[in-house]
Amino acid sequence: MKFYRIYGLSIRHLYLIKGSFPRILDLIYWPTIQIILWGFISQFFTMHSDYYNNTVGVILSCAILYDFLFRSSISFNMLFLEEIWSRNFTNLFVSPLKLSEIITALTSTALLRTLIGIVPAIILMNPLFGVSLLKMGPPLFLLFLSLYLFGTTLGLLVTSGLLRFGPAFENVAWSSLFILAPLGCVYYPLSILPEWLQIFAKSLPLVYLFEEARSILVNNIVNYKNVITALTLNLFYFLGAIIVFYLAFYGARKKGTLVNMGE
């Protein structure tokens, strides 16, 4: 891997953000709206729910964590879709870029895009609703890391589909995370799900992540077993997604879909 090529692909997307105020606004807009919406809902629940009455902002915190996951995944997909929409795809794939460099560049740029959107929302939580996510302490970093890995994993799987099946796969890019959200137990405990669904849910790192986030916020207890299980599952899925991405690339080369991929 060469750093200059990773940097080259990264600045292609950073220039895109830098040169367009509406793009920056778009990145910040949705997480902020989410926070305001879920802020009021969680205030309502805090006042009327036994479960939440000890802790303000459990839902709000889970909402921001979920949004971080959603933004990391969408950012990764968006970076890839940008190349297809701008008909620049072929230029990239005939350059000396390696697949590993593409993955590294998109992963790091997606993180930056996500942070641009999510940091203002986190900052707004305190003055608006008196909730500070940072109070979760060091485990928060591990939760974010896990979510970021899972978001990137989904991004890799969706882009593999784009590579293999072309722009027609775009709709899946937008809906991918919504398919998993009910099983992820973002806003409710795992026990809410029917038992047979719990089996599937437990194979997702999201369950452990959000269970742990609630546990920290409600009981102020950190169970590192959950955090480690989530990280392990994430690493496993992430490596699997890299393999799928490579296979999709070779499949696309065989099928000829890399040539003139565009709108």
């Binding site: 040169g19 940008e82 230029n91 794939f93 005939v94 350059s95 065989k254 000829g256 040539v259 003139n260």
Partner: protein
């Protein structure tokens, strides 16, 4: 030369530990490792970035030791008695119980053996309990080293030690004789074929083999990394000029192999001179005609291989999409610096062919070799693509990025040095300076096309693949682009494959044309040859005749 025993001891120490070291021989410096050790021989391939299919020559001190590994015959005895130790290598049958590493022989039942003459090499071999596999101590396809300094330049700290034995006396690799069946010369080298013929009383001559069964037979080898023009009578100001006879006037770009046509002296100076020229950053090397006799045959052989840089070779290439055969078993070769046209009606397989050459499409069968390297190998792909670029009107640059930003992004992807200057020069050359801060999407078609051209030239490609580069452009802009490409190619010696429907463009730019129809190449030749062969007035009429037949 006196033997420095401490250096011999040091060499033995590293070799015993299965390390590779540089050793002097009378031909060129070798990268030596224990020939019985898989570890040491693997390291040789890795350091040299050498194909495992390319066997290694094993160096012995004595006949007794060699007999443990090979079967010998009467021709071998005669040649051994006459020329050994010296610059000659024999291919012999390997004994079944030989300890030679399988890496050395490429799992074949033959072995290349040599008895070096250099005093230090012999002293070292004498103290070892094993023979040394020692190919030339350079990265594969590059210029062979003839001094310790050359070896250091090639490998730096990657090898632990180089035994200094001064400058190699012969300066060219050994002559290789195959003695497994009927004797044959496999590589020209330090001993003239005529001398070998006298000893074994036969009339051997050298024919290039298609399969690499001994080292140094790659079509691209001994390359200084810049174009080499052979049999030159004149030279250009940006070229280094290699001479073999003293001229009345002298210029700073004159490099003498010999001043009185002494071929032995010329052979000794060849690699040293090529290395020196490479450092001076000339754009091309012109070489005066060298007599094709004696060692001159070897010098010319090396120069021919050095000159064959960045060629494209397509062998039996096919592509099948489901049941549709888009490209059917095509074969062609493009030499360095040629501009070749690929013509054919829509859907004839041109874009698929170019896609395969760029590594975008996986061929169903066949082989694409660029500069002797297979683009299908993931390892080669990146290296090849660093030297290649591509333009097509169907592929665009990011519209929301400015001209300058787009060029910066691609400059970085191609690892261009001194990028800012390169961008400024390209923008000036292509009249883009006034638009440098404008978004690419806001430009006119002609301006966008010039930006795409700048992107395609940012890495100074050695190979440029152009897919209808002037399609949909007005005649003025089209002409501008053609003229620019024409000048660039002639200045840089770029190899170009041009797919186009514009026959005037093809006639103007291309030295050769290939006609494609239904996935096959149905005819090829120069424009004039094709026009006259088909009895038409121009290329357009010729194209129509071929397509409608």
């Amino acid at each position: 030369m006196k033997t420095n025993l401490s250096n011999i001891k040091k060499s033995k120490y590293y070799l015993d530990k299965n390390e590779c070291i540089g050793i002097p021989t009378e031909t060129v410096y070798g990268l030596a490792g224990n020939a019985y050790s898989d570890t040491a021989t693997s390291k040789i391939f890795k350091l040299k970035k050498r194909s495992k299919k390319n066997p290694l020559i094993v160096h012995y001190h004595s006949l007794e030791m060699m007999k443990k590994d090979c079967h010998i015959n009467s021709n071998f005895i005669r040649l051994f008695n006459k020329f050994c130790p010296g610059p000659i290598t024999f291919i012999l049958k390997l004994k079944k119980d030989s300890k030679i590493s399988k890496n050395v022989t490429n799992k074949k039942n033959t072995l290349a053996v040599r008895f070096p003459k250099h005093y230090l090499a012999r002293t070292l071999l004498k103290v070892l309990k094993y023979p040394l596999a020692a190919p030339s101590a350079n990265i594969s396809t590059k210029i062979s080293p003839v001094s310790k300094k050359d070896v250091k330049e090639e490998f730096g700290k990657k090898i632990k030690f180089v035994l200094d034995g001064g400058v190699s006396e012969v300066g060219l690799e050994s002559t290789i004789v195959n003695l497994t069946n009927k004797p044959e010369i496999l590589r020209l080298g330090g001993i003239e074929v005529s001398r070998i013929n006298k000893v074994i009383k036969t009339d051997l001559s050298f024919k290039n083999k298609k399969k690499i069964i001994v080292p140094g037979l790659d079509k691209v080898h001994y390359s200084p990394g810049i174009p080499v023009r052979l049999n030159a009578k004149k030279f250009k100001s940006n070229e280094a000029f290699i001479l073999i006879k003293k001229r009345k006037f002298s210029y700073k770009n004159f490099y003498y192999l010999s001043k009185n046509k002494n071929l032995k002296e010329a052979a000794k100076n060849l690699y040293k001179t090529l290395r020196l020229i490479k450092k001076k950053k000339y754009k091309c090397i012109a070489v005066e005609k060298i007599p094709n006799i004696g060692l001159g045959l070897t010098i010319n052989d090396r120069l021919k291989r050095a000159s064959k840089k960045m060629t494209i070779e397509i062998k039996d290439l096919s592509k099948k999409y489901n049941k549709v055969l888009a490209v059917k078993n095509i074969n062609f070769k493009i030499d360095k610096g040629s501009v070749v046209g690929l013509l054919g009606p829509n859907g004839c397989g041109k874009t698929t062919t170019i896609g395969m050459m760029l590594g975008l499409i996986k061929p169903s069968s066949g082989n694409i070799s660029i500069n002797g390297k297979d683009i299908e190998s993931e390892k080669n792909r990146t290296k090849i693509l660093e030297k290649v670029n591509f333009i097509s009107p169907y592929v665009e640059l990011p519209k929301k990025l400015t001209v300058e930003e787009n060029l910066e992004v691609y400059g970085r992807l191609y690892g261009v040095n001194n990028l800012q200057n390169k961008i400024l020069n390209l923008m000036e050359d292509l009249d883009l300076t006034d638009f440098r801060k404008r978004k690419t999407g806001e430009l006119s078609s002609g301006q966008k096309n010039r930006v795409s051209l700048a992107k395609a030239l940012i890495n100074e490609p050695e190979i440029l693949l152009l897919d209808e580069p002037t399609a949909s452009l007005d005649p003025d802009v089209g002409d501008y682009i053609r003229t620019y490409i024409e000048n660039f190619a002639s200045k840089k010696g770029t190899t170009i494959l041009l797919a186009s429907h514009n026959m005037n463009e093809v006639e103007r730019l291309c030295s050769e044309v290939m006609m494609m129809k239904n996935g096959k190449i149905i005819d090829k030749g120069t424009c004039n040859a094709l026009i006259s062969k088909h009895g038409r007035k121009n290329l357009e009429e010729t194209f129509l005749k071929i397509v409608r037949e």
